[in-house]
Amino acid sequence: MKRRDENHLIKLAFGEAELSPADEPLDRESALKLDLYRQMRQDLLDARDAVPPDQLSPERLRESILRSGLKKERRTLWTWALAPSLALLVALIALNREHPEANVVASSFEAADEAFQAVAPPVVETAPAPKESNVAAPVAPKVAPKPTPNRSKRVRPSPKALLASRADQPLAPAAAMADIMETSRSGMDSTALDSPETASPPTVVLIESTADQATGMNIATEVRPAANVVIGS
């Protein structure tokens, strides 16, 4: 029997279709199936009443409602925002791993920093003498730890490796080193560079007593400190 015919029989048996003259007379197989479905429908209707009595009570329901409490506020907004945020974060990390050249600018500062640290001699700090003692005891010089600039955790070539790679090249002149220091100073932590060991000496402004012809103000001259200059009278 075709499925379409069987569906029609089901609808006939469950009262959802009328038996048309074209359907009659039904063959034996169809008639048997129709009887089967009619019997099934009657059994289903009878099953409706075959339900044991319940023991539900309003008190039981009230207790259950009180126990479970009112429903909490749904936090769908941030829940839905969490998934895209995580996906974006993962995508950014993956992108960062695929394109490490995105840090080219930062790397130039770090190279200058590495060069500076490689060339700069270690700073020797002398411990102060004890106050009670009049005799200055010999104190072993202590090597102070190098200031650690605020850097990322990325793997960089060590200063020794950098020196080894540049062994065949002459060291940069002082002027070039000063430029590198100035450049790296802007990208590094100020606290690390302002320490007495690493900070560049401040310039001195000399204010003269003579007035300028154009502005009428005292003339000021900016000079670099030197050992052979005496400031003041």
Binding site: E6, N7, I10, F14, L32, K33, L36, Y37, Q39, M40, R41, D43, L44, L45, D46, A47, R48, A50, V51, P52, D54, Q55, L56, P58, R60, L61, R62, S64, I65, S68, L70, K71
Partner: protein, 205 residues
Amino acid sequence: MIGARTLEGLARTAHDSDSDEALVLRARDGEYSAFETLFHRHRALVYRFAYQMVQRRDDAEDITQEAFVRAYQNLGRYRDEAKFTTWLLRIVTNLCTDRTRMHQRRTGLETREAAGGLTWMTVGDTDDPVQNLEQDQRRAALKAALNALPAHHRTAVVLRDIEEREYDEIAAIFGCSIGGAKLRVLRGRRALRDRIAPLLGEVQP
């Protein structure tokens, strides 16, 4: 004339105040007795439907109670587009489906048990077992066969052929179109027939 109009309005008001929607509004405003009225009115329907789905009295009671608890907690989300009973039966359907998933193993055992029951009834000493089946035996067989159906088929058959719900309501409960609901019922009936046919003497192809 005015008196008749007033009486008609009062009757309508009384009828409206007694409707499910009005009771829901009152319960939403904090009047718990209105929700208890809803419970008394629909508990038999919910329990009967749950029992037909899970075939166990204690499970059906638990589901009924849980359905009303969820209904109370979610009264603010109920919209008047659907009937209250439709909304309630949708909650019960979800609970029954969850329960069925939780008790997969038990359902499997019952399925095997039902299959054994059918064999016992069809492989008898008599030539025509259908004639010898008593009415209660046939009901028990139908119960077992219904319990062996997948949850979506069982839900469709119970809603339509036991609870006699209209197709638009079944569609609202399932969250599908009316045509989809008709198709589900049709497939459920056919699946039930496949399981129950040996009981009634039909030779399977």
